[in-house]
């Protein structure tokens, strides 16, 4: 408790409050801007960490994280084109509400729901982080190795629809992680002294998130502007409140555990929340036409899961979302080892972050409700300038790492890889996670086997390691069964599709639902 109060003392200094406000504003702005998600925003802002102190930077990042989430929901409500997979559900009902003239209420229930979910989830983090850290700190190298394998497994197989593509992305990332001379011998350096220290994670993150995305959009830029629904001041009537508060709480209950699990993500809980609200609603006929419960629940789930991802990040050093992965690279930029020892080594930093989450959340509500009409204007930013600006800041970010023109070459090469990944539907997250965790996976394996003098059975000598391997086997089994069932459904659909061509619409609908399972 004292530590938490210390955390608030850290977070409430005028300087850090300023950084939190800055983070929330920046986060919302980039969340609203099409084409920039919170992960890309954080990647572009990594250079800031070179001179700002770790506590201020992490506090600002917390603001960006929450702000970006909220901004993304604004975009999907007003544009009907979700920027991230976690806002797909919000776009369904939210945009219908906006079209029916209830944009203000949709934005309000999303904002207040995010606040409620974020606050509850943060309190859960206060309770859980120290307890989980106590358990985790006793784990040896074999358990840690197993947990990292689980993280790879989760981001590759559980998230995303194609396992083959997940593995391709994962192993490309591992290959990038091998570059350098960490083991004493030059690996994959092409005899290039500039590659001896490996490729800086900032360059990889900026290239894959910013350059890859900007090039991909540029190659497919929508030439006619999207229809944007005008919006006034967000507000909610008494009946909107009555219909929203239960979905907020249920959404939080779905979102947090999924976010906190190493195999989580935000897609599944938002989908579950939507299905639940549809079932429990007194107005089921409104679903699909703009039901407020269908915005309130999934938005709360989305935010609670975002907070939940901080649990594995802070206690295990495991990122389960792209945004968490970039936050992890910010920690590494400061020479802070995220992982079991983090809470012991840097209690001030961790508690400062946990306290600032509540502050960021409150700021978000205060700033965003009155400013919603202003944010909506951002949707009209001319696209050439927007994407040129992204390229500009991406190059600046990569250049400031070492002031080497060579890094800009790497940026372009990896950016083209990012472009190809989007073209061939390769997920980005496994690659980033592999680049960050790859070297540590090798280190933990070496450590475990050195202690056991080469005896491989040490890898399953700890109970936690056994549990993790069992969990992975279980997940693989469940997914294997799921794949077989999906194959069966698709055969049926395929035979139906050949009968009538007009089924295309319905079929893609089914596919989308399947991928959420």
């Amino acid at each position: 408790m004292d530590l938490l109060l210390d955390g608030f003392a850290t977070a409430l200094t005028p300087e850090n409050l300023l950084f939190a406000t800055l983070g929330v504003l920046l986060g919302t702005a980039v969340g609203v801007l099409p084409g920039i998600g919170p992960a890309m925003a954080l990647a572009l802002l990594l250079p800031v960490t070179y001179s700002v102190g770790p506590d201020s930077a992490i506090i600002m990042f917390a603001g960006i994280y929450y702000g970006g989430m909220y901004g993304g929901s604004t975009t999907s409500i007003l544009l009907n084109t979700p920027g991230e997979s976690s806002s797909v559900i919000t776009a369904i009902e939210g945009n219908k509400m906006a079209k029916a003239g209830r944009a203000a209420q949709a934005l309000a229930t999303a904002a207040i729901g995010s606040f409620v979910a974020g606050t509850i989830a943060t309190v859960l983090l206060w309770v859980l982080v120290p307890r989980v850290a106590d358990i985790v700190v006793q784990l040896g190298a074999p358990s840690y190795f197993a947990i990292m394998l689980l993280a790879f497994f989760a981001v590759t197989m559980v998230l995303g629809s194609s396992k083959l593509r997940g593995f391709i992305s994962l192993f490309l990332g591992l290959a990038i992680a091998m570059i350098g001379t960490q083991t004493g011998q030059a690996r994959l350096t092409f005899d290039q002294p500039l590659l001896a220290d490996g490729i800086d994670i900032v360059v990889v993150a900026v290239a894959i998130f910013a350059i890859g995305e900007a090039l991909w959009v540029a190659a497919h830029l929508r030439r006619k502007p999207l229809e944007i629904i005008p919006v006034g001041q967000p507000w909610m009537s008494r009946s909107d409140w009555r219909r929203s508060w239960k979905p907020w709480l249920r959404g939080t209950a779905y979102g947090f555990p999924f976010g906190a699990l190493p195999a989580g993500g935000a897609e599944v809980p938002t989908f579950l929340s939507y299905a639940t609200e549809k079932k429990l609603s007194k107005h089921p006929e409104e679903f699909g036409k703009g039901a407020i419960e269908g915005v309130a629940g999934p938005e709360a789930a989305n935010n609670a899961s975002a907070a939940g991802t901080l649990l594995p990040l802070l206690t295990l050093g495991l990122p389960t979302t792209a945004t968490a992965a970039v936050m992890l690279s910010a920690f590494e930029g400061y020479g802070i080892q995220p992982g079991p020892q983090l809470l012991d080594a840097e209690p001030g930093l961790v508690w400062g972050l946990l306290a600032s989450l509540v502050i960021a959340n409150a700021l978000l509500l205060l700033i965003n409700l009155p400013m919603a009409p202003l944010w909506a204007k951002l949707l009209r930013v001319p696209r050439p300038q927007l994407y040129a600006g992204i390229l500009f800041f991406a190059c600046l970010g990569a250049y400031t790492v070492n002031f080497q023109a060579f890094d800009l070459g790497l940026l372009l090469a990896l950016g083209l890889l990012g472009l190809a990944m989007r073209r061939f539907a390769l997920p980005v997250l496994p690659l980033i996670v592999a680049v960050i965790l790859g070297p540590r996976l090798e280190l933990q394996l070496t450590e475990a086997l050195t202690i056991s003098q080469g005896d491989v059975s040490t890898l399953w000598s700890e109970p936690v390691a056994i549990i993790v391997y069992a969990l992975m086997a279980l997940l693989a089994f469940v997914m294997g069964v799921g794949a077989l069932r999906r194959r069966a459904t698709e055969t049926i659909i395929a035979s139906r599709a050949t009968e009538s061509e007009s089924d295309v619409e319905h079929e893609s609908d089914v596919e989308q639902k399947e991928s959420h399972r």
Binding site: L164, F167, Y387, L411, A494
Partner: protein, 175 residues
């Protein structure tokens, strides 16, 4: 296990033509995997009792990459088509705009080649102007003005605000 199951799972039931470009991606994977394997073969053994050698991971990663490349090629031949990434500003109904893409890559290559010589303040402004031009904006005077403001502003922002001295290039002494 995964190669076989997923190939069928991701196959679009509607079928259609084979995505030939995806063979290129598969070839790239085999190439990268092959290089990783070759590189691993050049590494020497560490201490004899060392459990994990410097080449252990590269051998495993290279081999898997080659296998994944083959699996992707097989999946492609069986009609697997990627569901390309969607987004707010992405219009997938049109083909790939190679001209814009080529121009942007040229702008980025130009940035890389000139940054040591011209410094960030000039190169950054040219980067912004060139990129807006490539993306179809024709108000280039305004773009040049915005780009110059951005690059000089960011140079001073980093130098004064963050204490990060970005090399000034030929403007050394002027800025």
């Amino acid at each position: 296990m995964s190669g076989d199951g997923t190939a069928a799972a991701t196959t679009s039931p509607a079928g259609g033509a084979v995505d030939k470009a995806q063979y290129g991606m598969a070839g790239f994977l085999v190439l990268v995997g092959g290089y990783v394997l070759w590189d691993a073969s050049t590494l020497t053994e560490g201490f004899a009792d060392q459990p994990v050698h410097a080449y252990t991971f590269p051998y495993a990663i290279g081999a898997v990459l080659v296998a994944l490349g083959v699996a992707l090629a097989v999946a492609t031949a069986r009609g697997d088509r990627p569901q390309a990434d969607d987004g707010e500003d992405v219009d997938l109904s049109q083909g790939t705009d190679l001209r814009t893409l080529g121009l942007l890559v040229a702008v980025l290559v130009g940035t890389m080649l000139t940054i040591d010589w011209l410094g960030w303040a000039i190169t950054g402004a040219l980067l912004f102007t060139g990129a807006t031009w490539a993306l179809g904006s024709r108000t280039w005077v305004r773009n040049l003005a915005v780009g110059t403001a951005l690059s000089i502003g960011s140079w001073y922002g980093f130098y004064v605000g963050l204490g990060v001295p970005i090399p000034a290039g030929i403007l050394d002494g002027v800025l």
